[in-house]
């Protein structure tokens, strides 16, 4: 597959999954436990996506994995702390 098409596809999948999780958050408003699970899934998904994307790009390295992990943790914390 063409490299740029693959990259676009990966970004579309990232956006689509995050949008779906956002919809689920809205749907499960009032159910705090379910919302916490959704946020954890979103953070984990983002870290895995980053790892996969950089593996394909052949740029994966520990610093990059830690960077994605920190974004995942910080993003998750910002939302979970409200529940």
């Amino acid at each position: 597959m063409n490299k740029s098409i693959r990259k676009i596809l990966e970004y579309i999948i990232l956006c689509f999954v995050l949008a779906a999780l956002l919809f689920l958050l809205l749907f499960y408003n009032g159910s705090k436990e379910t919302q916490k699970i959704i946020i954890v899934i979103a953070s984990a998904w983002y870290v895995l996506w980053g790892y996969y994307h950089h593996t394909k790009e052949k740029t994966v390295d520990l610093a990059i994995v830690i960077e994605y992990l920190l974004y995942g943790v910080l993003g998750g914390l910002l939302v979970v702390s409200l529940l």
């Binding site: 958050l25 990059i64 910080l74």
Partner: protein, 299 residues
């Protein structure tokens, strides 16, 4: 001498302003001195941001624990406004206004106290006590009665809106049979977490003559009750404060990421790092999630 002093102060101000700009430039814009990546987006800075966020939240939580009056959980929930919004919705639907009733207020307060004491969040207590028991114990003889519960809301309008968005609660709220209402808003601990519970009880007495008597007896007493027990205590609700605190962090990172993206594009920078577009997408998700999440629960 005076001129020299003035000159000194001006130069200090200019120097400080320049230093501040330099720090902001270093924090938010990629350039050769920060390895072409805004300092705030460095791994170390992200770790510091995580620490700062946790510290800020802890300060809010500790403040609430030590001085509940400073950030009262029920500070934004006003009984008068719940009555107002309830009656607005009832009038819109063609139902009559309900009036606060002292006995039903007492029943609602007893229900909240029981929920905190027995540590439960349900219409029926773990011991099997039904809502109607509290109404009868308060001395109100009812023909029909209903109960709406809410917790963790930051303001009165959201409470009533949440009830209106739920078919079963809406049915209670707009039921044409009800004439009287009881309300209680109290702070306490459920499963070790500080929370605010709102109990709304609707009822109607069995005969027309007794309804008239109860309503007439209770109006003045209720006004005093509402003023004394449920007067707002603080301007800031910790629930809103938490939202603002989380949103500020998300906006700060989003701003740095947007600046980073613009500079990377403009100067065609190549660096080994995570993808700014991906981080932007994720942080947008986080910001939207912060606003989408409704903190309150109804039952």
């Amino acid at each position: 001498m005076g001129l020299c002093k003035k000159f000194d102060i001006e130069s200090v101000i200019v120097h400080n302003g320049f230093c501040m700009l330099k720090v902001l430039h270093h924090l938010f814009l990629p350039h050769q001195h920060n390895n072409h990546k805004a300092k705030i987006l460095w791994t170390r800075s992200l770790l510091i941001l995580v620490g700062l966020f946790v510290m800020g939240r802890s300060i809010v939580d500790i403040t609430i624990g030590l001085r509940p009056g400073i950030l009262g959980y029920a500070s934004q929930i006003d009984v008068g406004k719940i009555v107002e919004y309830t009656n607005q919705n009832r009038i819109k639907s063609g139902a009559e206004k309900v009036t606060l009733n002292a006995q039903l207020n007492a029943a609602a307060a007893a229900k909240v106290d029981d929920m905190f004491k027995e540590n439960y969040w349900a219409h029926v207590s773990p011991k099997g006590t039904e809502p109607w028991t509290f109404i009868s114990n308060a001395g109100y003889k009812y023909q029909h009665a209903g109960e709406n519960l809410a917790r963790d809301f930051s303001n009165s309008k959201d409470v009533v809106n949440a009830w209106m968005n739920s078919p079963s609660h809406k049915k209670n709220l707009l039921d044409k049979r009800y004439k009287d209402m009881g309300l209680a808003v109290k702070d306490g601990y459920l499963n070790g977490v500080e929370t605010t519970i709102v109990v709304q009880i609707f009822a109607v007495a069995p005969t027309k003559s007794s309804v008239g008597k109860i309503a007439a007896d209770s109006i003045s007493t209720n006004e005093v009750l509402a003023q004394e027990e449920f007067k707002p205590t603080a301007e800031i609700s910790p629930l809103s404060l938490s939202k603002v605190w989380s949103a500020s962090f998300a906006v700060l990172i989003l701003f740095a990421l947007v600046m980073d993206w613009i500079f990377v594009l403009r100067y065609n920078l190549i660096r080994i790092s995570g993808k700014t577009w991906a981080h932007l997408t994720f942080m947008w998700f986080v910001l939207l999630a912060i606003f989408v999440i409704r903190q309150g629960i109804i039952l």
